[in-house]
Structures are given as C-alpha cells and as structure tokens.
Symmetry: C2
Subunit: 202 residues, 2 copies
C-alpha cells in the first residue's frame, strides 16, 4: 500500500492484516499496562512494524486507543471543546453534551463497545480510559482543595456510567424513555456538586 492511497479520505487503506495486527497488539498492551505506560513504539514493535506506520494509520496514541476499543468517535472531539466551559457550568454542559451523543446512531456503537468491554477480560480498557483520559483531562480543573480533583471526576463518572447502564444497557423504564433534557436537568446539580461542591470526608 502506498502512502498516497492511505491518505485518501474516509477509512484509511492499507494491508488490513497489518492494521488488524496493530489493533490486536494495541488492545493487549493497553489492557495490560494502561494508556500512559504504553508507547506507540512498543505497539509497533509487538506488531513487527515501524512506529511511523502506526502513526500513519491511526494518528495519535489516543486515536489509536479509540480505534483499538472501537470507539466510534475520538474522545478529544468531545473533551477539547469542554476546556472552554467554565467549571461552574460543567455539571450541566457535560450531560447536555453527552446524552444527545449517546442517544444518536454514533452512540449505539459506543454502547455496544462499552457493553462488550465490560463483559470481557478487557474491562481494564474502560478503567484506563476513565482514569487516564477523562480523569486526567478534567481533574486538574477541579482540584480544590488540592488532592480531591481525581475523586471529584470519578464521582461524576459513577453517575454518568450509571445513566449509561440504566438507560442503554439495562433499559430501565420509565427512565429509558425520558428525554435527554430531562436526564441532564435532573443529574446536573449532582454532577456540579461532585465537581465544585463541598464533599465532606473526602
């Protein structure tokens, strides 16, 4: 496969054997060592290819991670715009952004991915994603008093994961039939308290 053909828009071309081998090795290494401690170089070595080829096919390490766990969207597409949201609005903006996405067609793929990761031995990939992508992105902004930021984000994650489970995986009624706005409005004060409220005992 030439670099030229690989640069066409849409799904990158290339030897699908090679792509699949890279994704398999990436999944194994991410599952074993987490995202931070896994390098593109080590994945390339495990797959018997050059690092440049991995970058060429998949982009950044986080994009490779997203491809490895079959996320239908690069998480940074959602997270980067949130950097401009004041922290006192995050409790509302987070679910107002995520619920419509999860309800969408793209969300169906995401839910399928979450479900299959939770069921398999790859639950560590969900852990890495929440700890090393989500927590790392948001915790420094809400680390007040110092040392509480990671826990604040993880309480938020617990409520959001619970919504995913109740709405999409368990399909609890009437919860699953609420509008995205109804869910967002109801959980927003919870998320905001976890992010910036008093949390005695933590």
């Amino acid at each position: 496969m030439s670099a030229g053909s690989a640069k066409r828009p849409g799904r990158p071309r290339g030897s699908s054997d090679t792509r699949e081998r890279i994704l398999t090795r990436a999944r194994e290494l991410f599952a074993r060592n987490g995202i931070d401690k896994t390098s593109i170089r080590s994945i390339a070595a495990a797959a018997g290819v050059d690092s440049a080829l991995v970058h060429h096919y998949f982009g950044t390490k986080q994009q490779l991670f997203a491809a490895a766990i079959q996320l239908p969207i690069d998480p940074m597409t959602v997270l980067v715009p949130l950097r401009d949201t004041p922290i006192e609005d995050l409790g509302h903006v987070l679910p107002a952004t995520l619920l419509p996405l999860w309800d969408s067609e793209m969300g169906a793929g995401l839910i399928a991915t979450i479900r299959s990761l939770l069921t398999g031995s790859d639950v560590s990939l969900v852990r890495s994603f929440l700890q090393e992508v989500i927590t790392a992105e948001v915790a420094p902004r809400v680390d007040n008093p110092p040392g509480t930021g990671r826990l604040r984000v993880q309480f938020v994650a617990s409520q959001l994961v619970g919504v995913v489970m109740a709405r999409y995986i368990i399909g609890l009624e009437p919860f699953a039939s609420l509008t995205p706005e109804q869910i967002s409005a109801t959980i927003a004060p919870t998320l905001q308290r976890y992010l910036t409220g008093e949390l005695p005992g933590l």
Copy 2:
C-alpha cells in the same frame, strides 16, 4: 428424596436435577416475562413438576427469583428493614446499608452475578429486579408529586448502579479504595434529592 431430608437445615436437598430444571425454567420465564407476570405455577408446569414442590424447594416467588439469578441474599432481607426508615433519611441509610454489604464476601457473589447478567442475554433479569422489586418497593413512598415515584427511585438506582460499576467492576482508582463511609457520605445528598427533592422537568 423425602420431604424429611429436604427440610434439614442448610442448602435444601432434593433431586439436584429437578432443582436445576426448575431454576433453568424460572430463569427463562423471568427473563421473558418479568417477575410480576411469571407465576410459580407456570414455572412448575414448564419444569414438569408440581407447584408445591417449587414452593417447598425455594419458598416465595421472590426467593425463587433470587435463587434463579444466584443472588447470595434474599433482597427482602435488605428491603424490609428499610420500610421503617423515614423517607428523609433514606438517602443516607440506603448507601450506608448497601456499601458494607457489597464490600463483604457476600457482595463478591452479588457482583459476580451482576457482571454475568449484564454480559449475557439475561440483562432483562436485572431490569425486572430493579423495576419490579426495587422500584415497586420504594416508589409508593416517594410518589410526590404523584407519578414521579418510579422515576425518583430509578435515578437513585442509576447512581447506585454507577457506584457498583465504578467501584467493583471497573475498579476505578482512587474511587475503589475509598471507605464505604466516604462513598455513602458523598452520594447521600444526591440520593436524597432524587427521592424527595425538587426535580424540575420530570
């Protein structure tokens, strides 16, 4: 097997083939029709035994359900004492009761059950349990304004399911290493608001 041997303390005796056949049919019927619409009689008929034998081996329908999904504890053991808890205390008493239970050895069996139900085709059993046991038990007490009780309970369930996922299944750190008291204290105001607070838009 005589009734005498089946009445010995500890695990009920009896033809283990018959017991297993009843449990298998119970699981199928509960999964297909939910708990309310499944009768002991229909389970007995499907298993080719008398209803009295099903009662004799497993007790009430809810105890049979608990056995069928391999719950290590009859849910009513937890739910019945909560009937005496004033609703304005439930937000705290609920997690303060559940977290130590989930952290216990008995909880390990429960978590294993939840995980295997979520992964299989039997996710409908979790739905039945939450909708027909938990929601039905608590909703009438918090149905204010009328019509909101079921949703109030299901928002509580979403947060509690999220805690189970984050703490026991995903193993998010440092969240998973908090004490039960730290988790209870942090989520109690959330649960209380869902149960008795203003929920605009619902």
